[in-house]
Amino acid sequence: MSLLITIAKRAGRTLLLILFAAGGTILLVRFAPGFFSDSREMDAKYAQAALAEIQAENNQQQSVGWIAIQEVKGWLSGGFGVSRQYHVPVAQLIGARVRVSAFLLAQGIFRGWLLAICAALPISALRKGAVLWRLPFTLLLSIPTAAMATACILADAGGPVLVLSLLIAAREFNFLRNLLEGAWRSPHLLQGRAQGMSPRALVTLHILPNVVPQLCALTTLSIVTALGALVPIEVIFTVPGVGQLAWSAVMNRDLPVLVAVSLLMACVVGFAGMLSTRTVTLEAV
């Protein structure tokens, strides 16, 4: 029962955070200079009366409450409103791009983690020279995502998945190495080594099962990192995903798209956080 209450509380908090993110985006965009500028006002073919009508229509849409109500109506109808930029339903715009971004995220996170684990496992067991082996990851950490993506394009090698994987690997490597270093030094592992257990057996039977809860929690961080990196990667590689849509919406002050993307991102981060906390708590029990 207490578990259900805890889950309900967490779900409620996540929902509140998502609504807060949506409200914040509406406020931010509403007060952005030039938000109510209408390209039709500069079009000579509109008569004075028509222009006055357009202005009156825009003035009516100025209150935050009105915008919020329209947004909620859009969410309830499942359409998320109509994009100001493309004049198509936002759900349709996002639906087509979510698959592309989700695939990119999944591949990037999976490969990044694989690379980080494969590197951290042997390096964490080293007693000397670990600094030298850590150098490539420190170097990767010092390269901005945009620069990494541009370098890939220049070298005509790799693509968005490689950049995302390298970024995730660089970010998670240090956490993993610290975690595994602690695991290698634990007394039961020293005992196992003294008894002649093979490193493979130590890793599969003792180290990995012990660090799984922490790894689950770290995955949430990877999702947040990957979501943040999605924008420059998709823009530079011209991947038609949610990141590129968000960038284009930001540049064109497309409120319905921005609110929908913010909601989507807040949902992913919120639920991933909720899930990882639950996993860690349950494992602790």
């Binding site: 931010l28 924008v231 991102m265």
Partner: protein
């Protein structure tokens, strides 16, 4: 030792950049129309860009502007310290609200949040205004994770025995924070500040590469990364890679500070 070498290199880079800006006869915005996309010459040591602007001067200016990230990091650490301490020494409901607020900021990926906030500012802002705004936004949005760490640290210290002793001696909470809590939190605040500096420089570079960073003609790492997309410029000179090489070097130096402080902690 490692920290001292890193600090010395960083200081040398800053001094070098300042000297270049002082001694050069070109301004970072000056366009030499006779030397568009020029290779390395006696006038332009590292060549010019597609508008004929001296690359050495621009890189030097970008280095100094990028290091303004340190000021933004200081502001964000101060905001985080205020939030964390306020939450730790307030009634529980105030702490809950403040931590919910920090969670709300953390519920969106940082770069997306930065992009959102930065893009919604006036389009007609001057280059200096865009630079100040960019770093102020970084400072204004970078505090939540740091505030959470400080809140946790301050909460532990609040229930320490010497705090109870201090209260019993008649010291006010404000005095206790100033005289005892803040010095104890220094080991937490310094790493937070050092983590923020490279993070802000990287964020500025990413924003700049998306066209949302410091406005032209003011040089910035992000804007200089965009040069790499110009294939004609790349074919002309290898000096185009200078900004990215220098940026990585600066970030590596800053990362080494962070690693050392984390190891000592």
């Amino acid at each position: 030792m490692k920290k001292r070498i890193a600090a010395a290199i960083l200081l040398l880079l800053i001094l070098g950049a300042t000297l270049v800006l002082r001694m050069s006869r070109y301004d970072y915005a000056f366009q030499d129309r006779e030397a568009i996309m020029a290779p390395s010459t006696a006038q332009h040591w590292t060549g010019t860009d597609e508008l004929g602007r001296d690359r050495t001067v621009r890189v030097a200016a970008a280095l100094l502007i990028g290091l303004t990230g340190a000021a933004a990091a200081a502001i964000t650490t101060m905001i985080a310290a205020c939030f964390g301490l306020l939450a730790a020494f307030s009634p529980r409901w105030v702490a809950a609200i403040l931590m919910f607020l920090s969670d709300a900021f953390l519920s969106l990926p940082w770069l997306f949040l930065l992009m959102l906030a930065r893009s919604l500012l006036p389009l007609t802002a001057s280059p200096l205004e865009t630079a100040v705004t960019t770093f102020l936004i970084l400072a204004a949005l970078g505090w939540p994770a740091c505030a959470r760490a400080i809140y946790r640290g301050a909460s532990v210290l609040r229930s320490a025995e010497w705090m109870i002793q201090g209260h019993a001696c008649g010291l006010k909470t404000r005095q206790l924070i100033r005289l005892h809590i803040l010095p104890h939190l220094r080991s937490l605040l310094l790493p937070q500040f050092l983590i923020c500096v490279p993070a802000f420089i990287v964020a500025e570079a990413n924003l700049g590469a998306l066209g949302l960073g410091v406005g032209e003609p003011m040089p910035s790492w992000g804007a200089m990364l965009l040069e790499l997309e110009n294939s004609a410029l790349l074919a002309q000179s290898h000096w185009v890679y200078l900004p990215i090489a220098l940026l990585v070097a600066v970030l590596l130096i800053l990362e080494s500070f962070t690693t050392e402080v984390e190891t000592n902690a």
